[in-house]
């Protein structure tokens, strides 16, 4: 085999990386996820601010304000539940993906058909998550959970929820990829640091940021990392698939 043939065979070897980069690109089209994070950020604000005001109102005996705040919190929690159930948010995500990545074309990873039992489990997990949010917020408002420990307490259900979501979305989300676990990982580290007494918390009146930043801040950070990684993966993919001479050469 001469050098030219050997070089061509080595080039052919590079083509074996195409599925890997195509998959990584598809996995990391995270702009719709960033949109969802912004929505959750808004919902968190709608939960946190009335919770804080409601707590104050309860303590000062202003029951009208307390019930108004409670009503807003319940509505926001209901919206969180709707956004948390994959079945309800899947179609919206698909449309949003087409809108944001339409120029690059549509590409999908295998999403195995969920059985009735699996769909039921998904709905239960979503509802449980919503219920946990509602219960912990209620306990916080009533003063049973100190406001500075709301984030570590929420980590007890937020982290299992995101682990469940990661497992649920297999193989569309690669559980072996670091990005799938970066967010729950950061959230857990934040909770541990808070419990350990590291001064990373905001004081009043910005106390609600103690929840918002770990949830939305780390989420947006991970989403941005994913999006930039998808740019890199697409560049790699295009580099490997590039054909010299308009694709007419052959081994």
């Amino acid at each position: 085999m001469n050098r030219e043939q050997n070089n061509k065979l080595q080039d052919m070897e590079k083509l074996k990386e195409i599925p890997k980069w195509a998959r990584r690109y598809t996995e990391n089209r995270t702009l719709p996820f960033l949109f969802f994070m912004a929505t959750f950020m808004f919902l968190s604000l709608v939960i946190a601010v009335p919770s804080y005001l409601g707590g104050k109102a309860y303590q000062s005996g202003n029951m009208v304000l307390f019930w108004i705040c409670s009503f807003i919190v319940v509505l926001a929690c209901a919206a969180t539940i709707i956004f948390s159930v994959p079945k309800w948010s899947a179609k919206f995500t698909e449309r949003l993906t087409m809108l944001l990545y339409g120029k690059e074309g549509d590409v999908k990873l295998a999403l195995p058909e969920k059985t009735k039992k699996q769909r039921l489990i998904g709905s239960i997990v979503g509802l449980l998550f919503g219920a946990c949010v509602l219960i912990s917020v209620t306990l916080g408002v009533l003063g049973f959970i100190p406001i500075e420990y709301m984030q570590p307490v929420s980590a007890l259900y937020v982290i299992p929820f995101f682990v469940c979501v990661g497992i649920w979305q297999r193989p569309a989300v690669n559980p072996a990829g670091f990005l799938a676990w970066l967010w729950p990982g950061l959230y857990a580290i934040h909770a541990i640091l808070v419990v350990a007494g590291v001064p990373i918390q905001f004081g009043r009146p910005w106390i609600f940021l103690n929840m918002l930043i770990p949830i939305a801040g780390y989420g947006i950070l991970c989403g941005l990392i994913g999006h930039f990684y998808s740019r890199y993966a697409l560049k790699k993919l295009k580099g490997i698939t590039h054909l010299e001479g308009g694709g007419t050469s052959c081994l």
Binding site: M1, Q5, N6, L9, M12, L15, K16, I18, P19, K20, W21, A22, R23, T26, M98, G102, K103, E104, G105, D106, V107, K108, L109, A110, L111, L234, L237, K238, T241, H242, L243, G247, T248, S249, C250, L251
Partner: protein, 95 residues
């Protein structure tokens, strides 16, 4: 040892490899990734489809028609066989 002529063509090999990594990809994705002309890409996917390696799915995104491609089991097997043959040739060349 004979190479599958349908897959051996560089553009078709790349189309098959992209589809091996994902569940399905649409015409636009293949077009932008491979930087081909519409006519050129159409001809190649038609050959792969007629060989039974690809499944074509036609749908609508709103009012816009959309054509997606999915690798069939026959295509996956043919692709695996192609790389097996190529590796064998390479081994022969090295020895």
């Amino acid at each position: 040892m004979e190479f599958d002529k349908v897959i051996h063509e560089p553009v078709r090999l790349r189309i098959m490899m992209i589809l091996a990594g994902v569940e399905q990809a649409d015409f636009n994705f293949l077009l932008t990734t491979l930087s081909l002309t519409r006519g050129n890409l159409s001809r190649h996917v038609e050959k792969l489809e007629s060989a039974g390696y690809l499944k074509v799915k036609k749908s609508f995104n709103g009012k816009m028609p959309n054509t997606s491609y999915q690798l069939m089991q026959k295509g996956s097997k043919a692709l695996a066989q192609y790389w097996e043959n190529l590796d064998a040739v390479r081994q022969l060349g090295l020895s």
